[in-house]
């Protein structure tokens, strides 16, 4: 008897498949879009640019204090030094979790997200539910991700209202002494770089 707005999302699928195909066909016939370019864009974000980029940045910051310092001072340049540049990452800021303060990133007004280091945002990041609640009740949102912070931890939410893009550098987990960057990167989850999660513990990696 209950309805829910998700049923509209479901109904949307077949309809959207047809509408999107019609649009792409029209644009292709008009010479405005080359389907091979569309394929190349999809391939880039489906297979090449994703959160493993950001994980490599975080791992290096954990392993190399000089890089961490650079990342803190000029994240755009430090990240570019690893080859991650471009669309939706033109102006980067890295924010570092501490035992006293946890960072969480949101874009309340649309879906701004640091694509070169994290790839495409997950659906929840773009949904009104997250956008509405992250800036007001982040502890309740974090609980939905299985994260419970001490009551005394300060929470710092960054609303990406301009073209600055934020990357959360989580705290390095205990028990990771001597691990190399590749092993460290495997502990770094996408959600932990948004601030919605924590890195994996080494035994769980």
């Amino acid at each position: 008897m209950h309805d829910h707005h998700d049923h509209d999302h479901d109904n949307e699928l077949d309809d959207m498949t047809a509408r999107v195909r019609a649009l792409e066909t029209v644009l292709t016939e008009k010479g405005l879009v080359d389907p091979a370019a569309v394929d190349a864009i999809i391939d880039t974000y489906e297979h090449r640019v994703g959160p493993r980029n950001g994980a490599a940045v975080v791992a290096r910051a954990w392993a190399d204090p000089a890089f961490a310092d650079w990342l803190r001072r000029d994240a755009t340049a430090a990240i570019a030094s690893m080859g991650f540049t471009g669309r939706q990452g033109e102006h980067m800021v890295a924010v570092f979790n501490t035992p006293e303060e946890h960072n969480l990133v949101v874009c309340t007004l649309c879906s701004c997200y640091p694509w070169p280091v994290l790839g495409l945002p997950p659906a929840w990041y773009k949904a009104p539910d997250y956008r509405a609640r992250a800036v007001r009740e982040p502890r309740a949102v974090l609980a939905g991700f299985g994260v419970t912070l001490p009551e005394t931890t300060r929470i710092r939410v960054w609303d990406s209202t301009a073209e600055i893009r934020y990357l959360v550098v989580p705290e390095r987990p205990a028990g990771t002494e001597g691990m190399d960057e590749a092993a460290l990167a495997a502990l770094v989850t996408r959600d932990s770089m948004i601030g919605a999660g924590l890195p994996r513990a080494p035994e769980a990696a």
Partner: protein, 218 residues
Amino acid sequence: MNGPQDVGGRHGFGPVVPEDESLRFHADWEKRVLGVTLACGALGHWSLDTSRHARESLHPAIYYNASYYGIWFRALVALLERAGEVTDDELAEGRAHRPGRAAHRCLAPEAVQGALARGGPSDREGPAPAFAVGERVRTRNHQPAGHTRLPSYARRATGVIEAVHGAHVFPDTNAHGRGEAPCPLYTVRFEATELYGADADPTLTVSIDAWEPYLDRA
């Protein structure tokens, strides 16, 4: 605009549903919307600010029922129609009636990597900042009918300048074709109790990135 996009701090929404980071798309049509939207950006008919405004201009009844790629798609159609590139009839038939106007700007497959890696920086030469890190500012009661990036939850609130980012393109003018009008951009941090009242989480602070015309000295 106080549109459907302006959801920060609103009540009544539902749970946040985590998803595995290996999941990239929820349907094949989403991939095509991503690719076509980015490819159409190369046509030069609109700016990023204009496209954001097209998305937030969808009726709330549509905006809150669509997935985000559904929002992108509807806004893209609106932008292409406004640019004179497609018509409702063409989309209904799935067949072009006329050639494209900006076909000479069509993004070539070999240009994709360069375009994505280059991006579109928004920093510009512009006026020197009026405020310095640590200064207290108050956001204006700025609520134009057009595009703005000052969210309503952060209006009329006092905060502290935490970073100065130099001059950036001003979305309020650029979205409407009224020029880039670069002006200083700041990160401004607020106590949640200042934003939401005394019952708010006392351990929470929230920052926005705010252009100088949004701010007064507190």
